[in-house]
Symmetry: D2
Subunit: 271 residues, 4 copies
């Protein structure tokens, strides 16, 4: 419900609750509003900070293309504005990429790092997927059918078909808004050269990496790579979920986040 200035633009953010700071970074199509169901559990014992990236939600739109690394500077600006020297940082998908970019540059700001459904690099495969999204952006139906099915599991689509249909109705006007679509194209392009594989070893914070077995956008192998590169990392797999884990497995998403963020110790002398 507030804004911070970043290079002449307004960045929207929200704060809820008190306690150990937990900053949550959105996936590409998301905004602060996407977390409405999580605000209560995430702010019960934590100072929850939500943020719309540039070109997202209530933050300002960009005009020209830019590199995703600018979003990591947005995060830095916000934390400094809030006078936070350390926060637990959670990122999903695009937000997980920004979280990694931030964590390799501003190592000391990261209390604990939680990465859901994300990757350490935009390889040629993911690059082509993104190009396909951008070509589909001319037509709302094509955009829906190109971007949405791939982020859910076939199981969820089948079992929650009513919800999927309502979602389609809800997204139709959004995907018909040329402003929104242009922002989406820019966000997609901003990740084109993303690659932190050479820098991940710098992250010292305890890190949780979560994979979903039916994630067909940032598949399991991508998170295995992340785990092999971040020294103090550990890996969890959710067998019943696609890429959008916070919708398909909201309770597990919340439990893993709160448990990892708030556990009073991260070192155990096993006996």
């Amino acid at each position: 419900m507030a804004y911070v200035a970043f290079e002449g633009r307004r960045v929207y953010y929200e704060e809820h609750g008190q306690g150990r700071p937990l900053l949550v970074l959105n996936g590409i199509m998301m905004s602060c509003r996407s977390w409405s169901e999580f605000v209560e559990p995430f702010s019960e014992n934590n100072r929850l900070i939500l943020l719309d990236f540039l070109d997202q939600g209530r933050s300002d739109r960009m005009e020209a293309e830019y590199d995703q690394s600018i979003q990591a500077e947005v995060v830095k600006t916000l934390l400094d504005h809030l006078e936070l020297k350390k926060a637990c940082i959670l990122g999903i998908s695009y937000g997980g990429e920004v979280a990694q970019q931030f964590a390799v540059k501003y190592t000391e700001y990261v209390d604990r790092l939680i990465l859901f459904n994300t990757t350490a690099r935009t390889g040629p495969w993911l690059g082509d997927i993104g190009d396909g999204w951008n070509l589909a952006a001319r037509d709302p139906d094509a955009y829906y059918l190109t971007t949405i099915p791939v982020i859910y599991s076939p199981r969820f689509y089948r079992e929650q078909n009513g919800w999927m249909n309502r979602r389609r109705e809800k997204l139709r006007p959004v995907f018909s808004d040329p402003e929104f679509i242009r922002a989406m194209v820019r966000l997609t392009n901003s990740a084109r050269n993303y690659d932190v594989t050479k820098q991940l070893h710098r992250i010292k914070a305890p890190t949780l990496v979560v994979s979903c077995q039916q994630d067909y956008l940032t598949p399991l192998q991508e998170q295995e790579l992340i785990c092999s590169l971040i020294p103090d990392s550990r890996h969890v797999i959710l067998p019943g979920s696609g890429h959008a884990s916070m919708y398909e497995q909201p309770l597990l998403f919340a439990a893993l986040t709160l448990g990892f963020c708030n556990c009073s110790r991260t070192r155990f002398d096993i006996l």
Copy 2:
């Protein structure tokens, strides 16, 4: 190199070699030409039969929409034409769907059944994927980017990037051909109502079901379902491959096919 008539249309097929008959059914974008590297090993000890479905390769194009079940009748017509009472039938993807439709209806014709990267039904998720393909069909680049990345693994895309780029050049004129694209749209639509889950129990032939761990079009769970429904089935998983297994793992594709088709016994008295 020959044609058989089916309801006033010409269906192209090829025969190579002699021995236990092995009929190979194409995936949706494939044609007999796609198997050129496999003709030698598949015909060394077998009578290999290749076939272009209606709307594929050198077979006649259709005008109106049709149901995929017609392709099973094409198979039946060809086997009768060749006076074959029994054949080992291999199908991949769309070809695996036709193989299952054929096998549940003409049970006695099936010597052994080999299913690669396929599904027992077009659920709402796969249906939407197909609709997305069809909307992308207006633009060759969009069609490439919507249909091709999803059928390869990110690993293959990265390790065989030169091959992928040459493939893109090769497919550009193909995807610019309105005849080809209209046929693809009809083929895609023909599978819309496909569902053999209630009939698969009829299949008595020894069946091999092959999954690929990076198959993001017909994922592993679809083949687990097939295996749970076909009584005499067994399951193999290829960990290093996407949907197009015959390109990503050609030697394993050939070895599994020849080994399962030609093994002199299918029953073992374990001791």
Copy 3:
């Protein structure tokens, strides 16, 4: 630090901290002491209750054989003694079996259920494993080598070899104590007829089921079965761990437990 009477025997239990009650049930070789590293995080915001089953730790030894179901009655007695009408119940391995027996009988006592590395039944395979343990019980070295390697992952054994060697030294006198060994044999035998597959549908509490990919005593498929039978269950897989998950992945063990036990909501209206 206290005892409750059960059918003329003393049952040892401990309480730590305040908050939402969390009862932790031991694996077969464990005792309250095994949780020493977890007492701090588990009692920071919770009323943690630890318990030695009959024939475990500081609880009384039994003389004759008995059925595992008696341990569920021990749990019931303790909760009544503490005047607890509802608790979050965590069980690992043998403790997970008792947790399931308790939950299907005293449904209303279970706030949330957390099952690590456990099974819904002692099938013929696990039964033979248990018989092998009991035959090895005559010799401390044989008992160590028959029971211990199987509960760790090869990776942990290799990476934590010093810890494993110290553990062997620590367990040598324990496994040389005939009282301890006789208790272990009785505990093992008590699970011989365990099978709750027909009753699990009664459990209404939100349930978390955790598998470890290198669990060779209660493998992944056993937890898939549990998840298919408990209505409101969800499944998490730890890829880098064997059966003794609280030692191999203590931070994930703690995070999953605290996150699932304490999350302020279990229902999410995904939007």
Copy 4:
């Protein structure tokens, strides 16, 4: 049906059929007799060679301890005796270890290499398992319960319980034979220092590595390691099987072997 001399000892072997040579190397408890159901399919188009290692089946017993590498020399002696310059070599478990030892030393003799359920090294975990087997060797029942359940999947044990019970009856007199047991102990000890991880890069032959998802003696991760070290290797996973894959999945075992051994080409120009 014949013997070859090796360092003053008689090594039993069998030959069946004609064609591309296929040498099959036994697991630790096996002998040529174990392959009786496979002789027909494996010799239909191949010259099948079976072999009892020293301390196995009808080959001579050893007196003192020895290193497993001696068995690779046995293989070399036999191939030279048969004047075979090249053979397809299949090894399962212990036989797969010998196959790897042979292949890294006598690279040019290996036409194709097929490895089922095996490992590249005896790490501390597998070493302790072996020590446990040897301590159990004093008692036939203990030996059965310590060595047998771990090599089958719980599923097979349950579904084939009659077969397992008959097998137990059959193995009882075998495990009561002190000669057999002493040989087993020596075989087990011979693998104690086995480690070819540093040499596997030398293998140039096309290699097939087969894992079973319920293999709890040489788990999946061991074969992933092998695949990462042998240049021209590929990996297949059997989801419904334990360690003894030739008994649990005999048709897949035969199909993979024959298909990989006999495929007329191993190089494919994907198009």
